[in-house]
């Protein structure tokens, strides 16, 4: 009954993170915060970062959204925590390459567990769900204080 594509999309790890998101909390205080919004489906995320020097010491998020967006936010936080901001940016770029279906190959080794989201590229309308948290992270690190929207 359930297609191969759906199994690829809703992998165990994704379902598990969507049900029990990690770092699902506000940080007080936080050195950087950012809000992300997907006006198409109403997904919202608020991201909290504690950046010391160049290192993302701590990270947390809150919000509501579909399984893909929640799992993506959860796994984004676990994968950038303790990394430098430039390492986080590299992950952003690889993640984006994987989902944009670009001709340029992405580095699976760098992405590690995040490759579990590769199935999302088969569902173009859901790509924004997976990238919302990452766009919000980038906005947070740049800390321009604006709400990022997937439509912009």
């Amino acid at each position: 009954m359930i297609s191969e594509e759906l199994r690829e999309l809703y992998q165990e790890l994704i379902l598990e993170h969507s049900k029990k998101p990690r770092n699902f909390r506000a940080l007080e205080p936080a050195s950087h915060t950012a809000e992300g919004f997907n006006p198409l489906c109403g997904d919202k995320i608020k991201l909290y970062l504690e950046v010391v020097g160049d290192e993302i010491k701590d990270i947390g998020f809150q919000g509501s959204g579909c399984a893909i967006s929640k799992a993506s936010a959860s796994m984004m936080t676990t994968s950038v925590k303790g990394k430098t901001t430039s390492e986080a940016n590299t992950l952003f770029n690889e993640f984006h390459k994987m989902l944009a279906g670009s001709s340029e190959p992405y580095d699976e080794g760098k992405l590690g567990k995040l490759s579990v989201f590769s199935g999302v590229s088969e569902f173009p309308v859901r790509v924004k769900c997976a990238t919302l948290a990452w766009h919000t992270l980038r906005a947070g690190l740049e800390s321009d204080g604006k709400v990022v929207s997937t439509e912009s």
Binding site: M1, I2, S3, E5, L6, L9, Y10, L15, K19, L40, C41, G42, D43, K44, S64, G65, C66, A67, I68, F123, V125, R126, C129
Partner: protein, 421 residues
């Protein structure tokens, strides 16, 4: 007989000549497969599919009749003008409007409401006046009034709904007062299916001589609309939601109001003479139809309405009510599924949620089973907020949908539970 008994009794009156399988064959798109599965198109509140008669009409128009209207002194222009004017009369009769000049062609419901807000609202409302809407409006019946309110300093008031998704009439009545200068309400909620008692609402407003606009986008494909019986001052709907083309819609306005309203846009067709010193506007309905209109759309909409007339909206309503009750009963058996909007009077629209499964995940999984529904806020964010959900999944049925398709919806929801179980 109990009320429910009476309803059921009434429902038996469905014309024996109503044959859904025959109608389905009129819609070429319905026989296709998606992902190797037969398409179950349950997103009719977003847009409806088009019967072959409408598609053929568009084809015929562009193949044999295409010309600009009200201009050319040649054969084709006359053909196109005749077909255009004829469509206006078809729509006038369909709505039971008094005169054809009360039927204005616009791009859709949204443009119709913006036209009234800017032309009527900007002329006749002033600072401190109140505009009354309801908590279940589509964004297109909220935002034009907000824009107007910001421009002139008017105040937007919102009549609340109860937990069943019904307008609270006493609260509505309380909000109608001497400061209220305009009322804009939806006939049928696009997100919940609630049918509002618009005739009563119009009567309440008219006691204080307040004009009423009815957003009929979801009404015309489901139920008989008699403008004179409703008594409203403006009524708007979109062609594409009643089996016609996109980009064409109708604004009905009472002639005496339209007469005193200024034009909404300037350009061709809406003038009778132009001099740099002064321009004289054309008479109704052309005063509001600036620029070359969507001629093919108008003619296509005419064909769609003739198609609906052949089946009869009474028959359509009865059939869809049966389908709605069937779908409601089988969906309610699914563990964890909650139907949002349980109004006593409902059209064939069902919004539902699960506490721990997001509507978008439902939409994606249903789509893979060939079942097309809408997932999201349905352009009614304030309503979603009132209901306390970020989004809902919505199945909306047309007269060409079947109980088998409802069963496929249920099966597909079980696949959702399998993934998230």
């Amino acid at each position: 007989m109990t009320k429910r008994g009476a309803v059921l009794e009434n429902r038996k009156k469905l014309d024996a000549s109503f044959q859904v399988e025959r109608y389905r064959r009129d819609f070429p798109i319905l026989s296709q497969k998606v992902y190797g599965k037969p398409l179950a198109y349950l997103d009719n509140a977003a847009t409806t599919q088009k019967p072959k008669s409408v598609i053929d009409m568009l084809n015929r128009y562009y193949s044999f009749e295409n010309a600009n209207i009200h201009r050319g002194i040649h054969y084709l222009s006359q053909q196109a003008t005749d077909a255009y004017d004829e469509a206006r009369q078809t729509i006038q009769k369909f709505l039971n409007a008094r005169e054809a000049r009360e039927i204005i062609f616009v791009r859709g419901t949204t443009e119709g409401i913006n036209l009234v807000a800017q032309s009527y609202g900007h002329t006749f409302l002033k600072s401190g006046d109140e505009i009354l809407i309801t908590a279940m409006e589509h964004h297109s019946n909220i935002v034009p009034w907000q824009i107007l309110s910001d421009q002139i300093g008017a105040k937007l008031r919102v009549a609340p709904i109860n937990d069943n998704g019904e307008l609270i009439l006493e609260e509505f009545e309380k909000l109608v007062n001497e400061r209220t200068k305009f009322v804009a309400v939806t006939h049928i909620s696009n997100a919940l299916g609630t049918m509002n008692p618009v005739k009563r609402l119009v009567q309440m407003a008219h006691q204080l001589n307040i004009p009423v606009l009815v957003d009929g986008a979801q009404a015309v494909p489901h139920t008989v609309v008699d403008i004179q019986d409703l008594g409203c001052d403006f009524f708007v709907f979109s062609g594409h939601k009643i089996f016609g083309p996109t980009g064409i819609g109708i604004l009905y306005g009472k002639a005496e109001l339209l007469e005193k309203m200024p034009p909404y846009q300037g350009g061709g067709d809406m003038i009778s003479s132009v001099r740099f010193e002064k321009t004289t506007y054309n008479k109704l309905p052309f005063k509001f139809e600036a620029g070359t209109p969507h001629i093919a759309g108008v003619i296509g909409l005419g064909a769609a309405i003739e198609y609906v007339n052949q089946i009869g909206l009474k028959n359509i309503f009865e059939y869809e009510q049966e389908l709605l009750h069937y779908a409601t009963s089988v969906l309610m058996k699914i563990p964890g599924l909650r139907i949002m909007g349980q109004a006593r009077e409902k059209a064939s629209i069902i919004s539902f949620v699960f506490d721990d499964i997001h509507a978008h995940d439902i939409g994606t999984i249903l789509d893979q089973q060939g079942v097309a529904i809408r997932a999201g806020h349905h352009c009614a964010m304030p309503l979603m907020e009132r209901l306390g959900v970020p989004a809902t999944a919505r199945a909306s049925f047309a007269f060409y949908n079947t109980k088998e398709e409802v069963d496929r919806l249920v099966q597909a929801i079980h696949a959702v539970l399998e993934v998230f179980g």
